[in-house]
């Protein structure tokens, strides 16, 4: 059976989930490599085209127009799209600007406009169809294994 093609993507966030994924790798990487290949994962390999993915794991919030376009491209090229971590699922903590008061908002307003930010930071499900979720901040290792292995 052909190996599943997996992509790991970070949109706006601290990349804590993908860093934590490399800790989950400590025990699971070698068995997983029997069943899949990580074709897109900038933390461990060079940039490649996003296409023909079986599984896309995405961390972070959709805060700008460019995030939105990237997410839509991933969705169009992935059979299964999984939201990884609470930012991707619920917008927090990386979407903290959604909870700013008027004073805080006035300090960032120019920046939002200049760099094509969306009016609010969005969870993945607000933009595209999401097939599954892995909660945690960062991701709960047991939950990651359980969800990811369903699709291998």
């Amino acid at each position: 059976m052909a190996k599943k093609r997996v992509g790991v993507f970070s949109i706006t966030c601290d990349e804590g989930c993908s860093i934590y994924l490399t800790e989950i790798f400590n025990k699971k990487l070698l068995p997983w490599l029997e069943k899949c290949e990580f074709v897109y994962f900038l933390s461990i390999k060079d940039h490649t085209d996003i296409k023909d993915l079986d599984i896309a794991l995405i961390e972070g919030v959709v805060t700008s127009q460019s995030d939105k376009e990237l997410l839509e491209k991933i969705r169009a090229n992935a059979k299964t799209l999984i939201a990884m971590g609470t930012c991707a699922m619920t917008t927090l903590p990386s979407g903290q600007r959604n909870n700013f008061n008027l004073d805080q908002m006035s300090q960032i307003a120019d920046h939002l406009l200049k760099y094509h930010f969306l009016p609010k930071a969005l969870a993945l499900k607000d933009v595209v169809r999401v097939d599954d979720n892995i909660p945690g901040c960062p991701i709960i290792p047991e939950k990651f294994v359980e969800v990811f292995e369903k699709y291998l």
Binding site: S10, T12, C13, D14, E15, G16, C17, S18, I19, Y20, T22, E23, F25, N26, K27, L29, L30, L33, E37, F38, L42, S43, I44, K45, D46, H47, T63, S64, S66, D67, P93, S94, Q96, R97, F100, D103, Q104, Q107, I108, H111, K114, Y115, F117, C137, P138
Partner: protein
């Protein structure tokens, strides 16, 4: 030799922390500009901390960066405690040292095995190593796992560690797990020897004269000490800012720093150049050959220095775990709720500075200087230098363009920049 103009863009630098693009502009055969563009979208931490309860701010800023999370947490806690005159107990200081050592083990291992080794073997990814070297992946995963387990034991987790708090640790160390932890740390020492031998034999060389700056402590603990430089400066942590000079780099608008008016560098290479006497005796015994390399002006020896630091952190951790009697302690309460203070630590990538103000328990502001910003000027100059050296317009452009990309990425990875941190605090001009 004829000359020409060339623009090289590296779209999405890989195998670094965070995301960035690099543009190189060559005019009349000379490197006119090198600019690093950080791509991540800001999350407005400067605004988010305003008005927050001081107790919650360290955990919030630990989300600035996934990989440096423990460094931000620890530096911010130190700043809060200095601001409010909180004096942590000796046990708390020891637990923080252990937490920092756990960070160094797993962070340096990630950098060296996953980011740098592929360059050494001419591969895209560490996952592609040939079968005869597959053992290295096993060793990498074991080292990272030991660091991760040490973080779990002491601080509750390796990313966004929940136990480390203002005034102390919220959870008692589970003493039943200490013997196994010590054994695990001992078991990875041979792997670290193998890794260090690889970087000792690595022939990459780019020597540059610069000023090396780091906190110098008598137990190589990354936490407390005097900030020293190879130029001879000795300064208190609280005065660090007075010796820094912010410089806006032309073209890129990025903000770099000079130390006492000169270029400088921070990180593992600086620490080894300034403080190798404080390396753990067991590391000194087993790594004499490698330690003799320092002081070094070779930028690529930052990789070797990191490998030595992994061993040093293992050996100090074994000593702390063996000799300490871990007791339950209540967190130390602040004697006052208003003030200004500074916290400085050595993060994996270098000196990390926090300066904050608190009024009636609410944070007014937090300013920080991150290691990557301090290394920016040198990194840019060195990229310029190697591009200039490689440029040979007698060859087909494609040939040396490919070589430039390869060599530039290799050099940038030696500096081990963190673009997740940089996206907030480099003041890159967003385009």
């Amino acid at each position: 030799m004829h000359t020409c103009d060339l623009d090289i863009s590296i779209n999405k630098l890989s195998k670094i922390e965070g995301h960035a693009d690099l543009d190189i502009k060559i005019r009349d055969g000379k490197v006119e500009d090198v600019s690093l563009r950080v791509m991540e979208n800001v999350r407005f931490f400067n605004q988010a901390v305003q008005g927050m309860d001081y107790k919650n701010v360290p955990q919030l800023v630990s989300h600035i960066c996934g990989t440096c999370s423990i460094a931000h947490l620890t530096a911010c806690i130190e700043a809060v405690e200095k601001t409010l005159d909180i004096k942590p107990t000796p046990q708390t200081i020891m637990l923080r040292k252990l937490t920092m050592h756990s960070l160094m083990i797993r962070d340096h291992a990630l950098h060296l095995y996953f980011f740098v080794l592929p360059d050494l073997f001419g591969l895209d990814s560490v996952l592609d190593v040939p079968d005869d070297k597959k053992g290295l992946i096993h060793e990498a995963l074991h080292i990272k796992e030991a660091g991760n387990n040490l973080s779990n034991l002491i601080a509750g987790r390796s990313v966004h560690a929940p136990f480390e708090q203002v005034g102390g640790f919220s959870n008692e160390v589970d003493k039943s797990k200490i013997p196994a932890m010590i054994e695990e740390l001992k078991s990875i020492r041979p792997f670290v020897m193998n890794l260090t031998e690889i970087f000792y034999n690595c022939q990459w060389e780019l020597k540059r004269k610069t000023n090396f700056v780091a906190i110098v402590s008598d137990d190589f603990s990354y936490l407390e000490g005097k900030i020293k430089s190879t130029s001879g400066a000795v300064i208190e942590e609280k005065d660090f800012w007075n010796h820094l000079h912010s410089v806006v780099l032309p073209y890129s608008q990025a903000q770099g720093f000079e130390f006492e008016g000169k270029d400088y560098t921070v990180g593992a290479l600086s620490r080894l150049n300034l403080n190798k006497d404080a390396i753990h005796p067991d590391t000194k015994r087993d790594m004499k050959k490698y330690l003799d390399v320092f002081p070094s002006e070779n930028v690529y020896h930052n990789n070797l220095a990191q490998a030595i630091e992994i061993m040093n952190s293992i050996d100090y951790s074994i000593e702390f775990l063996s000799k300490s009697d871990f007791k339950k302690e209540a967190p130390v309460q602040p004697p006052k709720l208003t003030g200004e203070g500074v916290g400085v630590i050595e993060a994996p990538r270098g000196t990390l500075y926090y300066w904050m103000a608190i009024t009636d328990g609410k944070v007014r502001y937090v300013n920080l200087v991150i290691p990557t910003a301090q290394n920016l000027i040198n990194m840019r100059d060195d990229v310029k230098k190697i591009v200039g050296d490689i440029c040979n317009f007698n060859q087909p452009v494609e040939t040396f363009e490919k070589q430039i990309k390869k060599e530039v990425e290799k050099l940038i990875r030696a500096y081990d920049p963190c673009m997740s941190c940089a996206s907030h605090f480099l003041k890159i001009n967003w385009i």
